[in-house]
Symmetry: D2
Subunit: 337 residues, 4 copies
């Protein structure tokens, strides 16, 4: 097993998907131990560190990568299996950001109204108890919430010679902000350019569905992934798989279009991959889908659509590649312990 | 305890919220044993019963009611507590309907394309095993799914002298199609007219989130509810409460507006009802909300936004009226057994 | 020629389409001389008359009618030809309304932000010069704008046993707020109930496209219309016709759905009515449509789609009924002078 | 006067805004005589040249440029004044493209339905008569339409280190597809990168508002522009100015967000540039805006919002730079004749 450890130096982060030179070459089957900075580039550390003061746009949401995957060509699919995602600090931060978020007017849904107040919340992170603690900024109230670490941003270089801001989710992945991107999940991404050029970042200790205020409980992360390559098969929109479910995603505006993309993809996946007629797959999805909304604040909104495997005909996603990745993950974990 | 049993005669159903005379007078504290017909008015019973053939629009989605609640005045809130919701038949039906559903063009999202094929699926309902069984219409595949009965449509007469089709969800409730409307939940609805004039219908044996094809596993239901009245306090958008969560709803297009309505309401509910400053409530909702999409197919789309009570400051929804309703429900249930 | 003059008494206005008893019986070919109150029910007369103070919701946007058209049955089309629309006063009013309008959050696009300031603008109306004069409320600036009178609200009782607020535009017409509803235009509306039950109101001295602040230059109007009936032919969405163009409308959210409805209807109208293959009609519409947005502030947004007759194959809308209505209009006008 | 003539060689086109090296250095005040290829890269020439056959995605909508403007720095505004836009051929092409356009499901508004038929229409272009002639593909009908040449795509390199497909309109301009981009207009674009790096392309002989089928009457163009630079003043969203109007644009989804962006920008422009209080500017825009929709088919939809100068307080856009550009244009034109 080839294990690569990588912690970016300051100045080594990527701020876009596409248009950036790779930081490392990796191979299918490699395990990567990665450190990712938080979405604030580590600059929000106290209640005084307002985003509008300390962040120099567009240097927000730094990504660790991109990695060049040997052998990856347009038309292939990259599989990224998350072995572990662990907060790298004992605190985390959330904020409001002026004219950003789901419950305010924004740059893309502008009104003539004033912005909401700008606030920072610093959370305590307890990796033993597996909690984060919120303290009210203007209320005398504290509450422990479960730690549920995830990556908000996972993606590859987009197609059509584009480079996209790391704030954007789209067909190449990117800033999807779904809590489903937990340890144990396998993420499938269509390869658009040679080497795939994937990056990850934007660790969240947890987030609510929709990420209403636009910011989760943001933290640097130590994450371990193992990657693999499915040759000659493309994946239009990012897909995820865990032990229980296959999961399609869609990122678009308005939000019903994100829903449509994810659910049409799920119908097609079940139909093509599990042998159900498409209209029967449509009926089945209508009765079994779980469809947690991921984000309603980013430049595109993201939905995921989940189908429990126990309700599907016998079948395997991507030829069962996830089983191999789980074995590699198990081998890595036993070696470390 | 006053128990009223009511099964509508043919011709006694309501097809709108508002504009219909009440079928019964009821009082706060009354228990109602109700029978509701399925959304097809019972006309889809075999694979040959295509909706376009057997349904005479607008006679679709019949409601049991309306009931006139003595003492209910505009500005009050009606509480409907669901004691039980049980399928009234051992089969249920689902269909595609031409140009209706989330994954097709529709009358309100029209294109120049042809409609999808029209299909009926008849499900078996096993109340002992608590399952429904789907059989593929064009595939040789059958699958058991958990029975999870709910009412798609619960509402009162709307304000502004309107009468709305029973297919529409809006501030008065109506066809919200959320799986959260299960036995055990308490639903709060603002009263717009004297007597409130509430109705229920559209029983589903189960549905997926978003109700993609526009139709759930539709069934007649035997349902028992107990009602109560909160005087002098209005509820802008329907709210639900169960043992674990308080739940706001929003119905609108585009889907992000349904999300906004539900989540602004949840922030306001937590702020006003549990004493958190509003910006702290916004932050808390951003990290804890569970936001299952209800429907993405009706004339308005519906989102619900849930906050787990265990993360909220000490407090009670609507002065704890739900506890009284649960006691009435328990008394009713023990009397029946 | 049968001429009916009607000015509603206080208390005689309609506040919904549907659910209201007719004020008069009329016959195809009748000319109606009507007085309509402004959308504020005449209560906004000075800068101190803030809507939030003087208006008692839902008593806003009063309609003159409904009129029962003898012989009108579901499945027919009502034609309303506007002979003249003239301001009934020498002043008019516009306002902002808290949380209403296109450039603010609203009840249906809510945010946590504060409302914009509430202001009244009183315009002078000069029927000789054909101008209205705006005076800045917070700026030392006055400007004359062309008088261009229109009715914001024209509709019939909706189908499906509904009653809709006069603030709502939908398939039954209603509050479409399009400047195309000028003197000289013929409006076609599908009949949903016996007698059609049409009303008109909401006179505007002028408005910008989209009606950004939610309120036009609002005025009482003296309007003269002549009506006719097209038996056995239904009109799905309101259509208009003037000397130059045929005009489809669509009312929905999001705004692209209003666009789709209007343009699909225009393609179908050209294809069915003028004998072009539908794909050629699509191509033609893509190159010739003029598509002024009507409102982006009402419960549904409204688009109109215009096709200039000079680019269409030889043909006539609705069998050329407009020519007969123009002759009646000319006869009426010459009789009055 | 410095006049630069440039006709790109095959292989010299740009397919993105951003991420491309400049083809020429130019200076403020330079006149550029440019040739632009049509959106099909010249490959659709007969009815047999279906887009799905002859186009190799993403090589669609080629741009002439980018040009590096000496002295242009982030925070400046680039002014592009269109002296002339003339079809370079005596024919032009339009098509349907599978799953692209406003009246079909698409990649971003997917459904389970089949695509519409794929058709090519070849138009005759008569530069003397100033007409284009459409011939029905499936109908025996031909019609002459006015020639009204414009550029669908005008833009600079975007900010945030992005590179965007030439099919996308956004804050950097790009594929806005507005008929307002005619000869005689001045276009203002915020500079995001050193040199601005602007390109133009996508000539249309004419298009309808909304560009319903997704494709206009597409043609190669000979266009002459003169450019200038406004130092130290940024332009958030593209603005246009002609003799009669100032024009804001917005590109987003859903369509109401494009409307909001354009109209908030217009209110702000009038308020900051012409000295009206912002709430008075809002009122004025509500009554005078002309708001032709540009496209409802591209990855973002585009609205423009126009205010007639004759209704505005005395003032000048961008310090009156347009007058200087018109003088340069006049000098160029007299020199050529």
């Amino acid at each position: 097993m080839n294990v690569i450890s990588y912690r970016p130096e300051p100045g080594e982060f990527a701020w876009t998907f596409g248009g950036v030179k790779p930081v490392r070459m990796v191979r299918p089957g490699d395990v990567l131990e990665l450190w990712t900075e938080d979405c604030f580039a580590g600059k929000v550390r106290t209640p005084e560190d307002l985003v509008s003061r300390v962040i120099d746009f567009p240097f927000v949401n730094p990504q660790t990568g991109p990695f060049y995957v040997e052998g990856a060509e347009p038309g292939d699919t990259l599989a990224i299996h998350f072995i572990s995602i662990e907060p790298a600090r004992d605190w985390a931060a959330s904020t409001t950001v002026p004219l950003f978020g789901a419950l305010t007017s924004t740059a893309h849904t502008p009104t003539l109204q004033d912005a909401l107040p700008e606030i920072v919340w610093i959370y305590e992170v307890d990796k033993i108890k597996r909690t984060v603690t919120m303290h009210g900024a203007r209320s005398d109230y504290s509450v422990e919430l479960p730690l549920d670490p995830m990556h908000g941003t996972v993606g590859v270089a987009p197609g059509a010679m584009e480079a996209r801001s790391c704030l954007v989710p789209d067909a190449h992945g990117g800033n999807m902000d779904t809590p489903e991107m937990r340890a144990g999940v396998t993420c499938y991404l269509g390869v658009n350019v040679e080497g795939a050029l994937f990056s990850i970042g934007d660790g969240h200790c947890r987030q609510g569905e929709g990420e209403s205020c636009g910011v989760a409980v943001e933290s640097a992360m130590n994450s371990v992934i193992v990657i693999d390559l499915i040759k000659g098969r493309f994946t239009e929109w990012p897909r995820l798989e865990n032990d229980d479910s296959i999961i399609s995603t869609g990122s678009a505006r308005p939000l019903e279009d994100a829903f449509r993309i994810a659910h049409v993809d799920l119908v097609n996946w079940i139909s093509a991959g599990y042998g159900l007629d498409r209209i029967d797959a449509y009926q089945l999805v209508a009765q079994i889908a779980e469809s947690p909304v991921a984000n309603v604040c980013d430049p595109n909104y993201t939905f995921v659509a989940k189908a429990a495997k126990r309700y599907l005909p016998r079948g395997e996603a991507y030829g069962g590649i996830r089983e191999e990745l789980k074995e590699l993950a198990a081998a890595y974990s036993s070696e470390r312990n």
